[in-house]
């Protein structure tokens, strides 16, 4: 088929789908439901294909059968493939319990990777970035930066106190927890504002597509 016609067809499809989703603002309708069904099917297909080429072909197949004489095959990957096949045993009720083995592998690997990864990135790095000289590394920070550093240090500490529920929030501890709540409220408010603005920019992008790419009203 002519490339120009294909491009036009793809453009009109995108416009049809965009308007279909927007139509939900009026109310739930057939057009929206069709777009939703397309989204579910296409998304599943998309990730199916992506995982197939990236992992099954790119990692497993190329690893076991490199095709390049200079590279030796990695037969250890066959264990991964066998465990993957065991996962499909779930479809056969009699031996469905075998699928627990690969599942246990996934759970164990996730736990092992997360234990180190999260502890390093979410705990160690965050604590290290919080415990810093308030006046800057060379002591020459501006008042604006000093206030910011104090807010970050005190705010992180008090917010953590708020999350500590093993001790009753009373007295000085309760006061610190109260400050922590205020810090968290600012965080939630900022996150809300940031989310709304990111959604707005997506909306502007779609309107720009409809009025520009599709209708050609914006150059």
């Amino acid at each position: 088929m002519n490339t120009g016609i294909m491009d036009h067809l793809a453009l009109w499809t995108a416009a049809f789908l965009t308007l279909g989703i927007i139509s939900f603002l009026y109310r739930d309708n057939v057009w929206y439901k069709i777009c939703e069904a397309v989204f579910v099917g296409a998304s599943a297909g998309y990730w199916f294909v992506t995982y197939f080429w990236d992992n099954i072909y790119g990692k497993f197949w190329v690893g076991v059968f490199p095709g390049d004489p200079s590279r030796s095959p990695d037969y250890a990957l066959l264990v991964g493939g066998a465990l993957g096949l065991l996962m499909l045993m779930r479809l056969i009720p009699k031996i469905g319990w075998l699928s627990r083995w690969p599942l246990a592998f996934i759970v164990g690997a996730t736990a092992g990777l997360n234990l180190i990864g999260y502890f390093a990135s979410n705990v160690m790095v965050q604590v290290a970035d919080t415990v810093r000289p308030l006046l800057g590394a060379d002591g020459g920070a501006s008042l604006y930066d000093v206030i910011g550093n104090v807010v970050v240090a005190v705010g992180t500490f008090t917010a953590l106190i708020y999350f500590f529920f093993s001790k009753e929030h009373k007295g000085a501890f309760g006061g610190a927890a109260k400050v922590g709540i205020f810090v968290l409220m600012v965080t939630f408010g900022a996150s809300f504002g940031y989310t709304v603005m990111s959604r707005m920019s997506l909306l502007i992008g779609r309107i720009d597509f409809l009025l520009g790419d599709w209708l050609g009203l914006i150059k």
Partner: protein, 225 residues
């Protein structure tokens, strides 16, 4: 066999992945385990995809309520699957990258997936705005702080926010709305985010330990084997 072996696998794999960070000789085994993880995860996804097809095929074959939408779902699924697996429209043939420009798969991503996902997320702007209009009330100090922070961030990221405080001299630029928004994001917001991240980190570490030590076993299901 049904429970002991999975518990052992979980302990062995998790512990080895932790040890591999500290002991270089075990590192290659850890890397292999990461590859196995990727491969097994794909099969788990295949299982999910298969289930999707099974459910929708059943709905279509039995002409259940709204079966037409299931047909559309199946059409979308198989169209993307065929165009991606057989690399239809790829200028370089089957050897080319699946995401090569001009391929059906890439076109579907750009003209179907992208518009659908970004419009879905964009729709949330309306619903979040309408929900916040109904729910946001400065009833107490905490709610007022949340409201002010959200308002400053929203205003600070628009040309209007820049315009209304443009008259403030440079010596007091910290009071200009866009700068206030930047300060909120980089100081109190950062503090709160950090506390949440540290909390999540500690939670994940303790949960991972529970899983590795076999205290947490819910992932094995209810069957007593």
């Amino acid at each position: 066999m049904k429970r002991t072996v999975p518990l052992f696998i979980t302990f062995f794999v998790g512990t080895l992945l932790i040890v591999s960070v500290f002991l270089p000789p075990v590192q290659s085994m850890g890397e292999n385990f990461t590859l196995f993880f990727d491969i097994i995860a794909v099969f788990a996804f295949f299982l999910g995809g298969g289930n999707l097809v099974r459910i929708h095929l059943d709905k279509v074959s039995r002409r259940k309520k709204d079966w037409g939408y299931s047909l559309v779902t199946l059409f979308g699924f198989f169209l993307v699957l065929a165009s991606g697996l057989f690399k239809i429209g790829n200028a370089g043939g089957i050897a080319a990258s699946v995401t090569a420009s001009g391929s059906w798969f890439q076109t579907i991503f750009e003209r179907v997936m992208n518009p659908l996902s970004s419009t879905m997320y964009a729709l949330l702007a309306f619903y979040v705005a309408s929900a916040s209009y109904r729910a946001f009330r400065a009833k107490n100090r905490e709610a007022t702080i949340l409201l002010i922070a959200a308002f400053v961030i929203l205003l600070g990221r628009t040309p209007f926010g820049t315009m209304i405080t443009a008259w403030i001299p440079d010596s007091l630029s910290a009071l200009q709305v866009p700068n206030m928004a930047i300060w909120i994001m980089s100081s109190p917001n950062l503090a709160g985010q950090r506390a949440i991240m540290i909390g999540i980190g500690l939670g994940v570490v303790s949960m991972s330990l529970r899983v590795l030590l076999g205290i947490e076993r819910t992932y094995l299901g209810e069957d007593k084997g």
